[in-house]
C-alpha cells in the first residue's frame, strides 16, 4: 500500500500528472508568442481608424445589394452571377480534386506519390491561381484548377488514411493472400465510406470559401465584387455581399445534398464550362522560359550571375518573408488557442441551456464562415497593414473552428450529479478533460495558419505572399516560382513539425475536419 514517505507533500511541488507536460508546453507557447509579438509590427498606420470603423459599422447595419441597371433578366443579376460562379468553381474544383485524389490515394503508399501530394497541397490555391492566370488568363479553367490541384493532394492523403485505418479483418478472413479490387471495395472502402462522404462535404464548404477568395485576385467570384465594393467605400453593398455569402455557407447542409450533386455539377458545367482560350505556345513558353531562373536563360551561361540572382532572392525576399510568416504564425498559435478556449463555452451545454447555446453556435458559425483572407482584408481597411489584421483574422476564424469542435466534444462529457458549475466547472471538470484534444486540434490548425499567413502577404503584409505577388506583378515569374517552392517547403516543414509534436504529446486522434 503506501510506503513510509521520505518527504512531506508540502515540499512536493513537482506535479506528476498526465496534464503537466501539456501545461508546460502551453506556457512556453504563450511565452514564445508574446516574445515574438514584442518584435512584431503592430503599428496602426491609418490616419483615422475610428472614422473608417464607424463607416464600416454603418454599412454593416444598412446592408444593401446593388441592382442591375441595364440589360438584365432580373434586378439581382450581378449578385446571382457572382454566387453561381463561386459555387461552380467550388463544385467543379472539388469534384476534379476528389477524382484525382482518389486515383492518387490508390498509389499513395509510394514515397514519390506522397512527396508529390505534399508539394501540390503545400502550394495555396491563390498561388496556383496566380500561376495559372499567366497561362490561361482569368478564365474558368484557372479557377477550377486552382482549387482542384491542391485539393487533390489533400484528398489523396485523407482517402488513403481513412481506408488504411479501417479494420483489415473482413478482407483477410475472405482471402488473406489474393485481394481483388471488388474484395477491397467491399471489405475496406465501404468501411470508410461514411467518413469519406463526410469529409467531401466538409471540403466542399472549404472550396466555396477558397472560390470566394479567388475573386480577390480577379476571378469573377463573389470575392471580386466584395473587394471592389470595399475599395469603393460602398460598405452597405459589401455588407450585403458578405451576409449573402455567410447565408450561402450556413444553409449548405440543406441545399448541398449528395443526391443533388450530379444535377448541380451538370448545371455548373453548362453555366461555366471549365475552358480557356489559350495557346499551347503560351504554356510552353511559361514552362520552359518564364519560370526558368533568368541567368540560366542567357546564352553564355555564367555561374556567377546565377549565384547573385539566387542570393538576391534569398536575402531580400525568402528570408525576410519566412521570418515574417513564421513570426505571425508563432503569435497566432497561442492566440488561436486562447480564442477557442474563450469561445467554446458559449456553444457548450455544460455551461448554458440548450436554447442559449444555439446563439453561441450561430456566432461560431459566422466566425468560421468568413475566410481568414476576407476578415484580414476588412480589419486592414481600418488599421492598415500590420500584424494586427492578420492575427485577428487567423485567430478568430481558426479559433471558431476549434471552439465549434470543442463544444461538440464537451457536450458529450457526462459529469457526476454533484459536479460543480460555472467557472469552476470550466477549470476543474471540462478544460482538463478537453485539453489533449484541444492541443491536437490546435496543432492541426497551425499548419493551415501558416499556409494562410503566407497568403495574407498579398494584402500588403510582408509575409512570403507579398514577395510572390510583387514578383508576379513585375513579371519576374522565375522569382515568383522559386518563392512559391520555398513557401511550399516551409509548409511541408510545418506539417512535419506538427506531426512530430502531436506524436510527442501522444495526440494521435485524427479530426479530418481540420486537415487541409
Amino acid at each position: 500500500m503506501t510506503q513510509p514517505k521520505t518527504h512531506s507533500p508540502l515540499f512536493h511541488s513537482r506535479m506528476n500528472t498526465s496534464a503537466s507536460s501539456l501545461r508546460k508546453f502551453s506556457l512556453w507557447a504563450a511565452i514564445v508568442g508574446l516574445g515574438v509579438l514584442w518584435f512584431g509590427d503592430t503599428a496602426i498606420i491609418t490616419r483615422d481608424p475610428g472614422d473608417i470603423f464607424r463607416q464600416l459599422f454603418f454599412g454593416a447595419i444598412t446592408p444593401s445589394i446593388s441592382t442591375c441597371e441595364q440589360s438584365c433578366y432580373t434586378a439581382f443579376d450581378p449578385l446571382i452571377n457572382a454566387l453561381l460562379t463561386t459555387i461552380s468553381f467550388a463544385l467543379q474544383g472539388v469534384t476534379l480534386g476528389a477524382v484525382l485524389g482518389a486515383g492518387l490515394s490508390l498509389v499513395f503508399q509510394h514515397r514519390i506519390v506522397r512527396l508529390f501530394c505534399a508539394v501540390i497541397r503545400a502550394i495555396h490555391e491563390l498561388f496556383w491561381a496566380l500561376l495559372f492566370i499567366q497561362i490561361f488568363g482569368l478564365t474558368p479553367l484557372t479557377g477550377v484548377l486552382a482549387i482542384a490541384i491542391p485539393y487533390a493532394g489533400t484528398f489523396a492523403r485523407v482517402y488513403y488514411e481513412l481506408v488504411d485505418e479501417t479494420d483489415p479483418t473482413p478482407v483477410q478472413s475472405v482471402s488473406p493472400k489474393h485481394i481483388t479490387l471488388s474484395l477491397w471495395v467491399y471489405g475496406r472502402l465501404m468501411q470508410a465510406w461514411p467518413q469519406i462522404m463526410q469529409y467531401n462535404r466538409y471540403r466542399t464548404e472549404c472550396a466555396i470559401r477558397s472560390s470566394a477568395v479567388l475573386g480577390f485576385i480577379g476571378l469573377p467570384t463573389i470575392g471580386f465584387h466584395l473587394e471592389s465594393a470595399f475599395r469603393q467605400g460602398d460598405y452597405s453593398e459589401s455588407a450585403g455581399l458578405l451576409y449573402t455569402f455567410i447565408f450561402l455557407i450556413a444553409t449548405l447542409r440543406w441545399w448541398l445534398r449528395s443526391r443533388l450533386l450530379p444535377i448541380y455539377l451538370l448545371m455548373s458545367f453548362l453555366w461555366l464550362p471549365p475552358i480557356a482560350n489559350f495557346k499551347l505556345s503560351t504554356l510552353w513558353r511559361f514552362l520552359t522560359v518564364d519560370i526558368i531562373p533568368a541567368p540560366l536563360r542567357q546564352s553564355p551561361f555564367q555561374g556567377d550571375q546565377l549565384r547573385v540572382w539566387f542570393e538576391n532572392i534569398v536575402l531580400h525576399a525568402a528570408i525576410p518573408g519566412t521570418i515574417e510568416t513564421l513570426g505571425i504564425g508563432l503569435v497566432a498559435f497561442p492566440l488561436t488557442g486562447l480564442v477557442a478556449l474563450l469561445l467554446f463555452p458559449l456553444a457548450s451545454t455544460q455551461f448554458f441551456k440548450r436554447h442559449l447555446t444555439r446563439y453561441g453556435e450561430f456566432l461560431l458559425m459566422i466566425s468560421r464562415s468568413i475566410p481568414e483572407y476576407i476578415l484580414a482584408f476588412i480589419v486592414l481597411l481600418i488599421l492598415g497593414p500590420s500584424w494586427i489584421p492578420a492575427l485577428f483574422a487567423l485567430s478568430l476564424h481558426n479559433g471558431a473552428i476549434i471552439a465549434h469542435l470543442l463544444a461538440n466534444i464537451s457536450n458529450n462529457i457526462r459529469l457526476r450529479p454533484d459536479a460543480t458549475r460555472g467557472i469552476n466547472r470550466y477549470g476543474y471538470e471540462v478544460l482538463p478533460r478537453l485539453y489533449r484534444q484541444f492541443l491536437a486540434l490546435l496543432f492541426y490548425r497551425w499548419e493551415i495558419i501558416l499556409r494562410e499567413t503566407a497568403i495574407l502577404g498579398i494584402l500588403g503584409l510582408h509575409t512570403l505572399g507579398f514577395y510572390i505577388d510583387s514578383a508576379f506583378e513585375t513579371f519576374r515569374f522565375d522569382q515568383a516560382f522559386i518563392l512559391i517552392i520555398i513557401t511550399a517547403i516551409m509548409n511541408i516543414g510545418a506539417d512535419q513539425l506538427s506531426r512530430t509534436l502531436r506524436n510527442r504529446f501522444k495526440l494521435n486522434n485524427t479530426p479530418y475536419e481540420l486537415s487541409s
Binding site: 507533500p9 500528472t17 498526465s18 457526476r416 454533484d418 460543480t420 477549470g427
Partner: protein, 228 residues
C-alpha cells in the same frame, strides 16, 4: 421502521416512483430517514440502489457528501486537485483557478490530513489516470470527507479495496458524519457497521429493519431470483 424520536427528519418519501429513462426504476418508495442514522442499502446489482442514492443526494445537494460508484474523477488532474474539488463551492472562483495553477499551501495541508487518515499520502500530486482502481476509490472517498458535511451518501464506496481496508474506511466515514447511507454488496459488513438495513428486490423496498433483527441468512433471499 421510522426514524428515532430524538433526531430530525432528513428525508421523507411517500409512494415515490424514482428513476429516469436509462436507470433502474424504483416503485412505491416509502422511506423516512432521520439524522444520526447509519443505513446500509443492500440488494442485487441493478435493483435500483444507485437510483435511490442519487435521488437522496439530489434532495439535499448542499449538505450531502456524495460518493458515486462511477466516481467521475478528472483523470488528468492530480489527486490533490480531485480532492480539492469537494470544496470548490466554498471559495471564490479566482481562488479556485489560482489553486488549479498553483496548489496553495493551506489546501495541501488540509488535504494531507484527509489522505493521512485514509493512509494514502504518497500520490498527492500524481494524476488519477496513473492510479489503481482501489486508489481512485480512496480519492473519491477523500473528496467526500474533505467536504466536511453532515450526511454521507456512498455507492459501494469500498468495492475495490480489500476487506480490512474496507472496514477501516467505513468506520472512518461513520466517525466523520452524523448520518451515513451506504449501498453495500458485503452483507456482513452492512450488518456490522450499520444500525438499519434497507433491502431492495424486484424494484421495491423489500426489507427495512434494524440490523440486530437480521442475519446474513435472513437477507440472502433478496439475492435469490424467483419466477413470478
Amino acid at each position: 421502521m421510522t426514524s428515532s424520536s430524538s433526531s430530525t427528519r432528513l428525508f421523507h418519501l411517500e409512494n415515490c416512483l424514482l428513476g429516469y429513462a436509462n436507470e433502474s426504476v424504483l416503485l412505491d418508495v416509502n422511506l423516512t430517514i432521520g439524522s444520526g442514522e447509519r443505513i446500509a442499502l443492500i440488494g442485487p446489482s441493478g435493483s435500483g440502489k444507485s437510483t435511490l442514492l442519487r435521488h437522496l443526494q439530489g434532495l439535499l445537494p448542499d449538505v450531502v457528501a456524495y460518493c458515486p460508484q462511477h466516481h467521475g474523477l478528472v483523470p488528468m488532474l492530480s489527486t490533490f486537485h480531485n480532492i480539492f474539488m469537494g470544496q470548490l463551492a466554498n471559495h471564490p472562483f479566482w481562488y479556485n483557478l489560482l489553486n488549479l495553477i498553483r496548489p496553495q499551501k493551506k489546501e495541501i495541508e488540509a488535504i494531507s490530513l484527509v489522505t493521512e487518515k485514509l493512509q494514502f499520502t504518497s500520490k498527492l500530486f500524481t494524476s488519477i489516470d496513473q492510479l489503481s482502481g482501489g486508489q481512485q476509490q480512496r480519492v473519491n472517498i477523500a473528496r467526500a470527507l474533505f467536504q466536511n458535511r453532515s450526511i454521507f451518501i456512498g455507492d459501494e464506496p469500498t468495492s475495490s479495496t480489500d476487506i480490512y481496508q474496507g472496514q477501516d474506511i467505513i468506520s472512518l466515514i461513520g466517525e466523520q458524519h452524523e448520518t451515513v447511507i451506504f449501498a453495500l454488496h458485503d452483507i456482513e459488513l452492512a450488518l456490522n457497521s450499520c444500525q438499519r438495513i434497507i433491502g431492495i428486490k424486484d424494484r421495491r423496498i423489500a426489507i427495512d429493519a434494524p440490523s440486530h433483527t437480521l442475519t446474513v441468512e435472513s437477507l440472502s433471499h433478496l439475492y435469490q431470483s424467483h419466477n413470478q
